[in-house]
Symmetry: D2
Subunit: 252 residues, 4 copies
Amino acid sequence: MTGEISKIGVLGAQGKVGAEMCKAVDAADEFTLVAALDAGDDISALVDSGAQAVVDFTHPDVVMANLAFCIENGIHAVVGTTGFDEARLDQLRRQLEASPGTGVLIAPNFSIGAILMMRFSAIAAPFYDSVEVIELHHPDKADAPSGTARRTAELIAAARREAGSAPMPDATSTSLDGARGADVDGVRVHGLRIRGMVAHQEVILGGPGETLTIRHDSMDRASFAPGVLTGLRNIADHPGLTVGLENFLDLD
Amino acid sequence: MTGEISKIGVLGAQGKVGAEMCKAVDAADEFTLVAALDAGDDISALVDSGAQAVVDFTHPDVVMANLAFCIENGIHAVVGTTGFDEARLDQLRRQLEASPGTGVLIAPNFSIGAILMMRFSAIAAPFYDSVEVIELHHPDKADAPSGTARRTAELIAAARREAGSAPMPDATSTSLDGARGADVDGVRVHGLRIRGMVAHQEVILGGPGETLTIRHDSMDRASFAPGVLTGLRNIADHPGLTVGLENFLDLD
Amino acid sequence: MTGEISKIGVLGAQGKVGAEMCKAVDAADEFTLVAALDAGDDISALVDSGAQAVVDFTHPDVVMANLAFCIENGIHAVVGTTGFDEARLDQLRRQLEASPGTGVLIAPNFSIGAILMMRFSAIAAPFYDSVEVIELHHPDKADAPSGTARRTAELIAAARREAGSAPMPDATSTSLDGARGADVDGVRVHGLRIRGMVAHQEVILGGPGETLTIRHDSMDRASFAPGVLTGLRNIADHPGLTVGLENFLDLD
Amino acid sequence: MTGEISKIGVLGAQGKVGAEMCKAVDAADEFTLVAALDAGDDISALVDSGAQAVVDFTHPDVVMANLAFCIENGIHAVVGTTGFDEARLDQLRRQLEASPGTGVLIAPNFSIGAILMMRFSAIAAPFYDSVEVIELHHPDKADAPSGTARRTAELIAAARREAGSAPMPDATSTSLDGARGADVDGVRVHGLRIRGMVAHQEVILGGPGETLTIRHDSMDRASFAPGVLTGLRNIADHPGLTVGLENFLDLD
């Protein structure tokens, strides 16, 4: 390991996730929380406090300015804020060229379980005739299916295309509208909205005489903490831009 | 128990289900299989063999003639053949009036697990904010959702109507077509078609902070046997027409 | 409904469960929270505030004094505090004789899902050859199996005894210690301790070719609220002592 | 691919698994079943029929003689028969040295789902605080836990040892005998015996706020077929001895 990082700042420290991340950094033996900033605070406090890396769970409107400041000051960043498109990623790459040695991790999902579920589903998909996805969430959610379910289905479809898998068998000839779920790249995705649920997903794969089921249950925002800490532990060894926490995990 | 039934005939004895029922009757201590008939056999063999009750898994085209013969000869009948509408049931009721003491049980489902799943779902439904149904079958099935899933959803909807339950919460505003399943009387039903599966169903109920899940897995036609044997054990005590095996089960 | 209850007091209002109950009473249209008391507060505030019923989630050391005061003053009580034995229940019955019209509900479990799971398991148990119980909890729990799992197993065993069910089949002849779980009245119970879990239980019943699974997932103390509100809505119609919330639920 | 294999023989063709394998070979476009032999048949029929590879599901008593014949005649072998120890494997390695270009695959498990379950469990295990294994089988099984469950637990324990994972948290201080399952290398394993089940296993992993579950359901011996066909498709490219089907699967 080349880097020796211990002093951490959190941006968005008063948000729901940010507050959890402050607690997680504080509780980790190897890290010290040296700055906990939110909207209205002066970001230069990061430099004054000697922060070597930040965790950013803020807002698409402010994250690019936050990162520009961090990169200029050689502060690594582990970022869970959403809203990154190719244009934004390219801009970060250019900024990072001027600050060699600084690392930025952008991750759409810090839940290690969700990453493993997607990875295992893609590996297993070509070995089976049928693959479908069920996602279950609380009924206050606005979109169906969930972003994670869509992404999982896309990864499954890509893995099967690459392997030359046959289309999935389905003899349905009489059907009520919607009974077979949504079609995402040829993979059926089913979304349930149930009071009491938080965020859950199940991928079911089947072949002659057997099925394999991979299920992820996320009950609490605390589930992001191990992923963020893994990001902090590895960021100094990955200068430049990294997209996706899976690049820091040993999954083989 | 008023009846003392031991000699059993099976109609449709060479069909897949019928053959299983012959085995099950043969294996039951209290019963003797005295006649195993199929298309082409002379039904009067039932009388010659002394059959006191028959099990009928035949075809809608022949079942009414089979039952007319049985009722005339005072032979009880436990019937899993499909295709009964109100007209047929009325005709059976009239025929049974002329043969007091003879019982006929018509059951759309002899799986005790499926009956319990439907019953428990209907009892529990009014206690929860949300209820949805998932059914999973092999991909050679022609209809979606399954008949059992539809029936379950109808029973859940009826129980909630009777209890004055509020509509289920669902904030979905952006959705891919089919993502939220089919709507059966206001209950969402999701159908999966997976190679390796046989016939499975899950009812998920949720309220603040908790969920209840009732799942039935049917792996084999052998699962009809306990229900048919329960029918045979009780038929002599239920003269006239009975629709639904649940009437013979002690479910309170 | 004979009673017209609207003014509610909560005892133990600063405890984890009590605080949730205050919120739940406050949020319910038909109820007004008129007193929220904890250790150190003067219980006569209940009378001054006009409370018609109380919710008690306190401590075995103080609950009997709390209830004596309520009964004397004709205030109904819905009680989730633990530690009631036959002697305590008898004492309450005697006190209630002197205050006809006052109702006290003592319930070891206010989770409707847990009650339904136990009830359904007991109803279904005699129809199956095999029944086992799995409970899954966070790893900070001190006892294994959980009290609910033990109680469930006892109810299953009792239902099978009453129905004359055969012993469960089990050909195990070579086994590692503990592999087949704990034996509670002849029912095997398996306890898992998994970080990230809260309180979960699964009852699996199986017969030839099919299985039935009843699962309860409790994620949050909020799950007690619907049961407590059900208790408050019905307590005025049930003078005297009632043990078990199931007596207020329509489960047939 | 270096090899062009199409003519296949099956040894143990009248056994339950062997008969399934004959069907599977017959149904595969690229293969022709040229010999289906069982005890009493002359194994030299393999040579006469031009078999290029055999599938062996026979018995520990005869499998070494079968393989000696195959190796001498340059016939590849895909072997599901049990009973191989290091001495037997060494003997095969020596025999294969004298027949370069011939491949023998010995696999304790041809179910691709079981292999994936074990592999994914081992990859995921170091990312979680807690990991436990549940296996569910029919009640006629003699050993508990199952061989696959033991092997899975051993692989999980090895992966955690290598990663330097902490011991799993468990605050249990009061316990009924067996409630926490069997201890296999520090991993708790729970075995259920339920009528109607075939062969099922679930690995549950948990960390703060989330759990990951990997479940394999095997309903039918047909589930071995895809693994055996994968073995046949790859055996000619893997001369010498290979132990474990996972070596022929692309799992990264």
